[in-house]
């Protein structure tokens, strides 16, 4: 008889390791794109329609960072150090209770991310893992870690499935020229700057052939809607993870949107799936 093996401390270790590895690979990509706070050197900000951001803005911390290179460097140092500190102090050597690093990590991530997306950088939705996962990592008890990580898995599933549901609700899925219009808005600067480039020609081909472009949109929506299955079973989690990776690659190719920031949250699909079974005689 085969039974699913429970989430073990080894699973926890492997998930944490994978998270930290992905975090630093993404950090390297951010640095290459000039997206560290010290590289952005912000002088202006933008108010988002987000109540939590407004609370932070009331403190004025986002203005303190404007034209403040030293402040930006300190913020970057802290933001990119916390996962390493957690790894060495709470996982590798287990010298500290996870909450000792986890609580300041969580608080600082919120401050950093909410400030960061007020500057010309990228969207906050891609930082959802940074807002939620430190709360999971601060747990000492294995069951607490497991249940909160499972909760994060549901957040990820909702993130993706709701995007598909919204497309049904607005009717954009059934609008033949929708994707062509989206492509023009998304790439207009590139199209004007590089006439004749292979990518420009590929975009024009899709814009002028709405059957092709809308088919891509429908396929991506179907992929998003497939994630609803994850609410009922973990059996397809590995497939969902690879569908997500496929979506990320396609999003980068077709839309030039690097949504890789959501990858750490997608890891929950790999490390919570019931892949291991033990055979009992």
């Amino acid at each position: 008889m085969s039974v699913p093996v429970l989430f073990t401390s080894d699973d926890r270790y492997r998930f944490t390791k994978a998270f930290i590895l992905v975090f630093y690979v993404l950090a390297a990509y951010h640095w290459l794109c000039g997206l560290f706070l010290y590289q952005l050197e912000p002088v202006l900000f933008h108010t988002r329609y987000d109540g939590t951001s407004w609370l932070l803005m009331q403190t004025g911390i986002h203005q303190w960072l404007l034209d403040n290179p030293a402040g930006c460097i300190v913020f970057d140092l802290l933001y990119y150090s916390f996962p390493a500190i957690y790894w060495f102090c709470c996982v590798k050597r287990q010298r500290l209770h996870p909450a000792v690093v986890g609580i300041p990590w969580l608080v600082f991530n919120w401050v950093y991310i909410l400030c960061y997306v007020m500057y010309p950088s990228n969207s906050i939705e891609g930082h959802i893992a940074g807002l939620l996962l430190p709360f999971v990592f601060m747990q000492h008890k294995l069951p607490s870690f497991y249940y909160l990580l499972s909760g994060a898995r549901y957040v990820f599933l909702f993130f993706f499935a709701s995007a598909g549901l919204w497309k049904l609700r607005t009717g954009s899925l059934f609008e033949m020229e929708h994707m062509s219009a989206v492509l023009l808005v998304q790439h207009k600067e590139f199209l004007v700057a590089y006439p004749g480039h292979w990518y420009t020609e590929a975009v024009y081909f899709l814009v002028k052939n709405p059957v092709w472009s809308q088919s891509l949109f429908i396929i991506s929506t179907v992929i998003e809607l497939v994630f609803i299955a994850g609410f009922f079973t973990k059996r397809f989690d590995r497939i969902l993870f690879w569908l997500f990776v496929l979506f990320l690659i396609a999003d980068f190719w077709v839309m030039r949107i690097p949504y890789f920031g959501a990858l750490p949250l997608a890891l929950t699909l790999l490390y919570l799936s019931p892949r291991k079974t033990k055979t009992l005689s």
Partner: protein, 166 residues
């Protein structure tokens, strides 16, 4: 069922998760204002139609098209900065209309100085030229007004209109 297991394990954690889920569903249903970490994940869900004209920041890249294609976030940081510089007035109006509107419902008085922005052109120019010139070729003129140009969609390709920035 997952929530039943959580309930058995810890009632505060169960309550936390139920409240989190309910608020997320509320934000999804309302489709308007969000409260991090509760977001609406639209991903180009809103209906869009092809327009006869587009506002375009016509800045040629310093490197070839393939390099620029590979690093879209470099474009974002350069183009968003222009967009937000030109959108300062809209940002300040957003504060008056939306932030004040929502806060007044809760009898809160947000500090306008924390939400509004007034970056003078000289300050922006001094910051933007070194910031962006490693990635795009900026017009070599102190008259460049950072405004977008009009580009017409003729059904075949986007064509920049001749009037606009120097």
């Amino acid at each position: 069922m997952f929530l039943k297991q959580v309930y058995r394990y810890s009632k505060p954690m169960f309550l936390l998760m139920v409240l989190f889920a309910l608020f997320q569903l509320f934000c999804f249903y309302k489709q308007g204002m969000v409260f991090a970490p509760w977001f609406n994940y639209g991903m180009y869900s809103g209906r869009v139609k092809i327009q006869p004209e587009y506002d375009v920041y016509a800045l040629p890249g310093k490197y070839n098209g393939t390099t620029r294609w590979l690093l879209p976030q470099k474009d974002d940081r350069v183009l968003l900065a222009l967009d937000w510089y030109n959108g300062q007035e809209a940002n300040n109006l957003f504060f008056q209309k939306n932030v004040m509107g929502v806060c007044s419902k809760f009898r809160l008085k947000p500090d306008a100085a924390k939400f509004t922005i007034h970056v003078p052109e000289a300050t922006f120019r001094r910051w933007y030229y070194p910031y962006a010139s490693a990635w795009v070729v900026l017009p070599d003129s102190s008259l460049y007004d950072f405004k977008p140009r009009k580009a017409a969609w003729d059904g075949y390709r986007l064509q920049l209109k001749s009037t606009g920035t120097p």
